[in-house]
Amino acid sequence: MGQVAEPAVRTVALGRDFRRRLPKGARKGSGSKFEVTQALEDVSLEIQKGELFGMLGPNGAGKTTLIKILCTLLLPSRGEAYVAGHDVTKDVSEVRQRINMVSGGETSGYGILKVRENLWFFSQLYGVPSEEAKYRIDTLGEILGLTPKFDVRASRISTGERQKMNLIRGFVSDPEVLFLDEPTLGLDVNAARQIRAFVANWVRKERRNTALLTTHYMAEADEMCDRVAIIDRGKIVACAPPHELKKLVQDDVIFTLRVKAPSEGAFEFVRDVQGVRDFAASRSIDGATADLKLVLESEAAIADLMSALAARKVELIALSKSVPTLEDVFVKLVGRGLGADDVVPAQAEAKE
């Protein structure tokens, strides 16, 4: 019988609580001084070697908490976690030998040092021989187009360049498992695309490395990941390849409506429209318009919805039928959209 390969990452019923001291006035009945928030709850997953695994969820869902535990920066409150077969709470040194981490919007490094010096410094924390570090930095810099900035102080490079620097930092140690926490956060389209291609290539070329990517960009998870776990309020609600997740909504009819936004909460009536299964609403930044993502039982429901909108004098700007995306899956499973500014929670549970 063949030997079963150890997963690159494995967690068993992993949980993490955070305690926050309450101000005196805010202490309720029990009089407890602390408020406990469950950031992660019963998370069990396996990520195989050579897999590019995505964690998709809104802000505060628990993605970063999971990464911090796997990177040995945070102790779990419950459960077990292993990286490359090593317990993250007991075999800390073994785990750290094999990993690296890159976060989006990271401001690490030393502004007074040149980009090259910063990269060399971080390579030394992994004991990479200096000549080899230089080769790796040169090579990765050339591929990511950062070489012209190598002799510029880190404080004087752009956000995109800084993120490329961070990415090279993550790869220069030649990790087995790389944790990428929203690596394209705040980047322009080109820089984000370049970074996605680079990471995907790293994992897929020979399937010897593993990446765990957290994101709240649907397209990023869809385009890059072999499998995606959808996480919400600390719990994993689904885990499968993107195409399989999308099967969950393939029978649904999905429409997106852009309307002139009335006052807050004005979309509550949508939940009562016949044939609407789920919906999520998000306002534009200026608050003038709102997008309604609707999961309908059939196209016939759109007529009732139009009538309902007209009755409430909600002005329609655009209407389009959508191909199912991971966002639709998220809306279906969680009952609201991924955007931080979602204004109306959907009624998934209420309807069921």
Binding site: L74, R98, D174, W202, E206, N209
Partner: protein, 297 residues
């Protein structure tokens, strides 16, 4: 660019690997030393700003010079005048080390946390002690320049004089005392792993009392015994007192020289061991309480 060639679609295949095919690295000890050296380099690189000379070397000298003028005025015509000048110059030089320990080592950890570097240190396999030692070594070198400048100005401008016979012994005392005080700094630094602003308050609260109790600018013997005892906890106090006894003829120390010579190595070992365990303990506590990383994350 290195001469090795690489495939743009798989540059990682060209990375050198260890014999067994694993990740290439220098081993545990080699990595520790490499990280130590690299962190020292970072600290020394801060000195490439020309303003450093003014802010870190010339400006701090003003407070030493102020004391020199006070003593000159008070002891004008007294045979002890020269001795006071030498006394203050030596104390002024040592002040720089105490400030560097508080703000360059301990409080600096807070800055590292805020900038996001701290978590990268802890994700890497290297011991945090290597980072701390690197910071300490870099600070030691930088601060030695400031301390040397104080002594040079003291000797050539204000006429401070020291006994040349005991210079080797004084240097030995200096090295051991600085080793001990920087290890004490690492103990403080571990507090900053867990506490942020609270740690900063601690640094503030330690600065002035030590200035007072260590006798940087006046003989410790003039202070009450309880304050002397408190001051003796800081290795700089004992080191400074021993150096004064060795270098300034006629100075009476607050402890016999042999006691100080015996205490300093013990303090060095004690604080080094203490630093090791306090960093380990505080790392564990910080991981349990979620304080190693930034709150916004």
């Amino acid at each position: 660019m290195s001469e090795r060639t690489f495939d743009r679609t798989d540059p990682f295949a060209s990375f050198a690997r260890a014999r067994g095919g694993g990740r290439l690295h220098k081993g545990k000890v080699g990595t520790f030393i490499a990280a130590w050296q690299a962190r020292t380099y970072i600290r020394l690189s801060g000195n490439r700003e020309p303003s450093w000379v003014f802010f870190e070397t010339i400006l701090p000298m003003l407070s030493v010079i102020a004391y020199l003028y006070i003593y000159r005025y008070l002891s004008a015509g007294s045979p002890d005048a020269d001795r006071f000048v030498s006394f203050v110059v030596l104390g002024g030089a040592m002040v720089a080390f105490w400030l560097s320990v508080l703000w360059g080592i301990a409080n600096h950890i807070f800055w590292e946390k805020q900038s996001g570097n701290l978590e990268l240190y802890f994700v890497s396999p290297v011991s945090p002690m290597a980072m701390m030692l690197g910071m300490a070594t870099g600070s030691l070198v930088s601060t030695s320049l400031r301390a040397s400048a104080t002594v040079i100005v003291g000797v050539f401008v204000f006429g401070a004089s020291f006994s040349a016979d005991n210079v080797p012994g004084a240097l030995l005392v200096l090295v051991v005392a600085l080793g001990a005080v920087y290890c004490l700094g690492m103990c403080f630094a571990s507090i900053f792993l867990v506490y942020g602003r609270e740690g900063e308050h601690l640094a503030h609260s330690l600065q002035e009392p030590v200035f007072f109790a260590a006798g940087f600018y006046y003989p410790l013997r003039t202070l009450p015994a309880a304050v002397q005892a408190l001051g003796a906890v800081v290795p700089l106090t004992i080191g400074l007192d021993a150096m004064r006894q060795l270098l300034i003829p006629g100075v009476e120390g607050f402890l016999p020289l042999w006691v100080e010579a015996a205490a300093l190595p013990l303090m060095l070992v004690g604080f080094a061991v203490g630093a090791h365990f306090s960093i380990k303990h505080m790392e564990r506590k910080a991981k349990r309480e979620g304080r190693l990383t930034l709150r916004w994350q």
